[in-house]
Amino acid sequence: MAVVIPVKVSKPTDPLPGDRARRAVGVVGEVFITFGVLLLLLCVYQLWWTNVQSAKATEVARDLISQDFVPTAGAAAPAKGTKPAAIPRPTYAKGFALLYIPQINDKVWRLPIIQGVGLDVLAEGAGHYPNTALPGQIGNFALAAHRATHNEPFRDIDALKPGDKVYVETKTGWYTYVLDKYKIVKPTDTWVIDPVPGKPNATPTIAQITLTTCNPRWASYERWIWWGHLTGTALKSAGPPDGINPNGN
């Protein structure tokens, strides 16, 4: 005689022993994977998309400045004399000059110089520290630009050497600066853009330029600073300095 042993058959919907724990582990794993994918996307954004966006924005800013450079029809003749007319202090986020550095010309050639150093400005070119001198003026013409991401204009800042030339084109003139020295400083060293860097009480007597960017390139716990001084000034009508073809490169 057969003995029928009742066996409890679990329905598919009933949780198996340990099922809940297994499901919890699965969810945690999926959260981790999701987080990893998000980080990868952030890398894609930083390393690729910001460059795409900034390249476009730089082009737009450059066009605006170029249009601004065209003498207005019927305007007064260019200032006489040998010194370019001073340009008015630009408002925030207004582009007012173009930067040329032949040694790193694949990135810094007709690079827009825009008033201010906010993120929105730096995404379009080099930012001009708002309270520093304008191109060619006595004092310190101080600029900042990205070294990584956002079109990375100052990517090759470490390839520059003392004696390298930096050209600035404004509506009225051409300014040639020669780089003197670089220094790696702390992010809080605001003295580097003083009118006379390092001498807070001194009254400037020469026109200088300062370039600032981050250091190391992919971290930014330091700043890379280049200083230079003005060696040449020319009227716009005299044409670009030797070695500069604004339409070339």
Partner: protein, 120 residues
């Protein structure tokens, strides 16, 4: 989590695949357009400026053009914080006789700048 989402997606499996792809694409767009730009300033690896005032404009007034008196030298107070940054544009008497057209702003009195990290 993803199994649950899959089970909630309506339609047969090819439709579900299409819906998944669309949802993922929408998420990427949202991240690139909204989320990443917001969190970017807080990332540590692309600050390029030295700390400078990005918000408060120091008081400035234009020196009347044509003035032949030298601009007053800015007073710089050497207090540790807030940091003082002085205006770099000080026309000399010689400069003012030229073709200055409005670039002769000089600060009046000390300019106080509160250090404020600018991310970029």
């Amino acid at each position: 989590m993803y199994a649950w989402i899959w089970s909630k997606l309506p339609g047969a499996w090819p439709v579900k695949v299409a819906e998944s792809v669309a949802a993922a694409a929408a998420l990427v767009v949202l991240l690139f357009v909204v989320v990443f730009p917001v969190i970017e300033p807080n990332l540590p690896f692309n600050n390029v400026t030295i700390d400078e005032n990005g918000s408060s404009t120091p008081p400035e007034s234009a020196v009347p053009t044509g003035s032949t008196s030298p601009a007053p030298a800015p007073k710089v107070t050497a207090s540790p914080t807030p940091t003082i940054i002085q205006e770099g544009n000080f026309p000399t008497a010689g400069d003012l006789t030229g073709d200055q057209t409005g670039s002769t702003e000089v600060p009046v009195g000390p300019i106080t700048i509160t250090p404020e990290p600018i991310a970029s």
